[in-house]
């Protein structure tokens, strides 16, 4: 079946829905998602979304830019960061006007609280001197992502957006460097659908499921990134994967930074507030990469606590905040601790360990969400990307907390605007039934392949190896091992077999395709990490412990080469105002 839409948006999380709301009524728009929109992973974001509203204290968007640049360990493109932080104020007010329920301050304005890495100068006359935490994170208890996702979904219903829910996109259709549609199948019955489109946007989220311990939903398999990579287009900065310091022990479920924003404290087995040693000024509110490394360091030096599963954890203590604050401001996350670990956070500390959380890298785009063809900055006509799957790059080597939700609404809207502009002159390109050939062949192969490899075995081994070799700390030796393992797993994937041969809601088949996507994303990640001989943000090489601005102020662009290792090219970082300096907190 061939459908025609002016624009097709793949993914119905924050970025995809925000883009859909922006498309004017005169254009036809379809949103394709492998889950119902409110199931999207945006909904799990907890702590807030930053904008320098100055509702609680004096702040400025320039402060937000400085923090984001510094937080990115100077890999973020400063022109893009300026665009995002400046637009943040408008974007949050707009969400409020759309109906998003926020917690409020005494004046009835949106309430704001502290968040990791968000600061302002202690002395306004000394903008680059000592910095102190600032209340910049706009929130709705600890369900900010949930209410944002629902608000955006509600607005798409108001605008009568067309959804293809539980459709899985398998192919990106290109002709002479111009995007002309996608191919998807309906999960309910495995029928293949061709979507002819003048413009396509990917808003398909991250790939945290490549790691064993992750805060990411099971659907976080980086499908959009893999499709772009398969089309011969580059992926940018994939070696930068954020480990959130406070995942619930064993499960990896996110315990928001809001817990520390409200005054929660990290402690080692001796009860010591260890962050005081690593980040004397902001302590527990240091950026995530630093806190995660500090936790691993505590554990390595014997100050962690050995759990029954053989892994080590440290403690997050919020008990001193009192039951009232906890129940009002942190109800969801303390509920997780009760449900999953049987821990009562009003009385005892929560066991936590770093958890794979966010891909800073992804599909390279410019500030208008146009996908880049190469490291020179040429664009692919008709193809857009926004949200976690994209790399603008506003997060550089390490994303600050709350900037992900901000990224979704700022760039979702910008992408929607850019598409609307493009549609004024864009035309449909010819697409016929043969476009489904590759997808049909792949599905047939999955059904007929009868090797002795299990999908779950390959996935588990990938997740374990990535955790071991490509996690918070990395070495040449470990990354080399990871490359060998990956090549082995890719070979073994050719010998998988499915037990479920049914055409009805075949989730085993979906998992098989997702696994292939994970393998692709892992490839771009691990080769990029192997090549980058420095430590910057979330990429921490023990054999190259220093940041190397002379050689590595540049973004990695990985191009898939199929039968050999990916080709890596590089693009310089855009620096406007802020020259790199040592990153101390």
């Amino acid at each position: 079946m061939i459908h025609s839409y002016d624009v097709v948006i793949v993914g119905a999380g924050g970025a995809g829905l925000r883009a859909a709301v922006e498309i004017p009524k005169e254009y036809s728009c379809a949103v394709i998602s492998k889950v119902f929109p409110p199931r999207s992973h945006t909904g799990t974001a907890q702590g807030g979304v930053c904008a320098a509203l100055s509702n609680m204290e004096e702040d400025s968007w320039e402060n937000h830019v400085f923090d984001t640049v510094k937080g990115s360990d100077y890999l973020g493109d400063q022109d893009s960061i300026e665009v995002m932080c400046k637009d943040a104020i408008r974007a949050i007010i707009e969400l409020e006007h759309m109906g998003m329920p926020f917690s409020r301050n005494e004046e009835g304005k949106i309430a704001q609280r502290y968040f990791g890495g968000h600061t302002k100068p202690a002395d306004q006359n000394d903008p680059y001197g000592k910095r102190i935490p600032v209340k910049r994170s706009c929130y709705s208890a600890d369900r900010t992502g949930h209410v944002m996702l629902h608000t955006l979904f509600e607005n798409t219903i108001k605008n009568q957006v067309t959804f293809f829910s539980e459709y899985f996109v398998t192919d990106l259709l290109m002709e002479n460097g111009v995007c002309k549609g996608v191919v998807a199948f309906d999960i309910a019955n495995l029928e293949v659908h061709i979507f002819k489109a003048k413009a396509v946007m990917f808003a398909t989220g991250g790939y945290g499921r490549v790691f064993r311990i992750t805060s990411n939903a099971h659907v976080g398999t980086g499908d959009g990134m893999a499709l772009v990579y398969n089309a011969g287009l580059p992926l940018e900065d994939m070696e930068f994967f954020q480990f959130h310091p406070t995942g619930l022990w064993k499960l990896g479920i996110l315990v928001s930074e809001a817990a520390r924003g409200e005054g929660g404290i990290l402690k080692n087995k001796d009860g010591e507030r260890f962050m005081a040693r690593y980040a004397p000024t902001v302590m527990d509110l240091a950026p995530r990469d630093m806190v995660s490394r500090s936790i691993i360091n505590e554990i390595r030096e014997g100050r962690g606590i050995r759990g029954s599963d053989g892994t080590d954890y440290v403690l997050l203590d919020v008990s001193h905040l009192g039951k009232e604050v906890i129940d009002e401001k942190l109800p969801e996350i303390t509920g997780f601790a009760r449900t999953y670990l049987g821990v009562e956070p009003t009385k005892e500390p929560i066991p936590i360990q770093p958890t794979a959380h966010y891909a800073m890298g992804g599909i390279p785009t410019n500030v208008n969400c146009e996908v880049l063809l190469n490291e020179k900055g040429d664009i692919v006509k008709g193809l857009y990307a926004a949200g976690e799957c994209a790399c603008v790059s506003v997060h550089g080597a390490n994303r600050l907390g709350t900037n992900s939700l901000l990224d979704l609404v700022v760039f979702g809207r910008r992408g929607g605007k850019a598409i609307s502009e493009y549609l004024k002159t864009a035309k449909f390109l010819e697409v016929d039934e043969s476009a489904a050939k590759k997808t049909n062949e792949f599905i047939s192969w999955l059904f007929s392949s009868n090797g002795n490899e299990k999908i779950s075995d390959i996935r588990t081994e990938l997740q374990n190896a990535m955790m071991e070799n490509c996690g918070v700390f990395r070495t040449e030796e470990g990354l080399k091992k990871m490359i060998d393992k990956l090549e082995e797993l890719k070979k073994r994937y050719r010998n998988i077999s499915l037990q479920d041969k049914s055409k009805v809601f075949n989730t085993e088949l979906v998992e098989a395709i997702e696994l292939e996507n994970l393998l692709k994303n892992a490839e771009a990640t691990v080769y990029g990490a192997y090549q980058r001989q420095e430590s910057r943000g979330a990429h921490s090489r023990e054999d190259f412990p220093k940041r190397d601005d002379n050689s590595w102020m540049k973004h990695t662009f990985a191009f898939q080469k199929f039968e050999s290792s990916p080709e890596l090219k590089y693009k310089p970082v855009v620096v406007t105002k802020y020259q790199p300096m040592e990153r101390k907190y």
């Binding site: 409110p38 992973h41 799990t44 409020e96 709705s140 607005n155 219903i157 479920i253 449900t339 299990k454």
Partner: protein, 236 residues
Amino acid sequence: MDIQLKILRFNPEKDKQPYFQDFNLKNVSDDWRLLDVLHEIKWNYDGTLTFRRSCAHGICGSDGMKINGRNRLACSLLLKDINTKKPITIEPLPALPIIKDLVVDMTNFFDKYEVVKPYLINNSPPPPDGERLQSNEDAEKLFESAKCILCACCTTSCPSTWTNENYIGPAALVKAYRFIYDTRDEGADERMDILDTPDGIWRCHTIFNCVEACPKEINITWHISQLKKKISSREY
């Protein structure tokens, strides 16, 4: 510990009727989620077992199902919190057509959600450069209803839903509350017109099944009662 399960199976390509299949698992830990149990079966024993899931910690609302007779999220329930001495029964959510195994057709559920106009209705222009003001007290009045994850545990647990598929159901009513009680919203009247109909709010007979079922601990019946009071005291 060892556990026994009875899981309702149905594949429309080969089964005329749903049937229970028994599974026995050895050496599982009592801190496993029911979702972990389902994954253990799917990934290591029977790849055909079909269910929805995503976030695995009770936010996305994908894995609502009937476990030991009660609608729950498989990811928010641990083995130690249910009776494992007897076989654990797992069935799809009731009152919706089964697509396959534990996956049900949610079309009817989402259609009802859309009926209540689940979006802010406000025709007055907002302040040009700031938010609409709202006291924190007023904002917090919405938070309980805004917690709803649209998992359908409540609506499919409701006897009124079982006997009348057109009944709008508790989830849609909670959504209506979330907007009718929002001080920024101006659509209360048009929504109350929708609720005050034969298949609307009066089909709620305060049975409290929805409250029992809600994994987010929303006091749904209380919210519906507030709406009933508001509608019955309306002046025309």
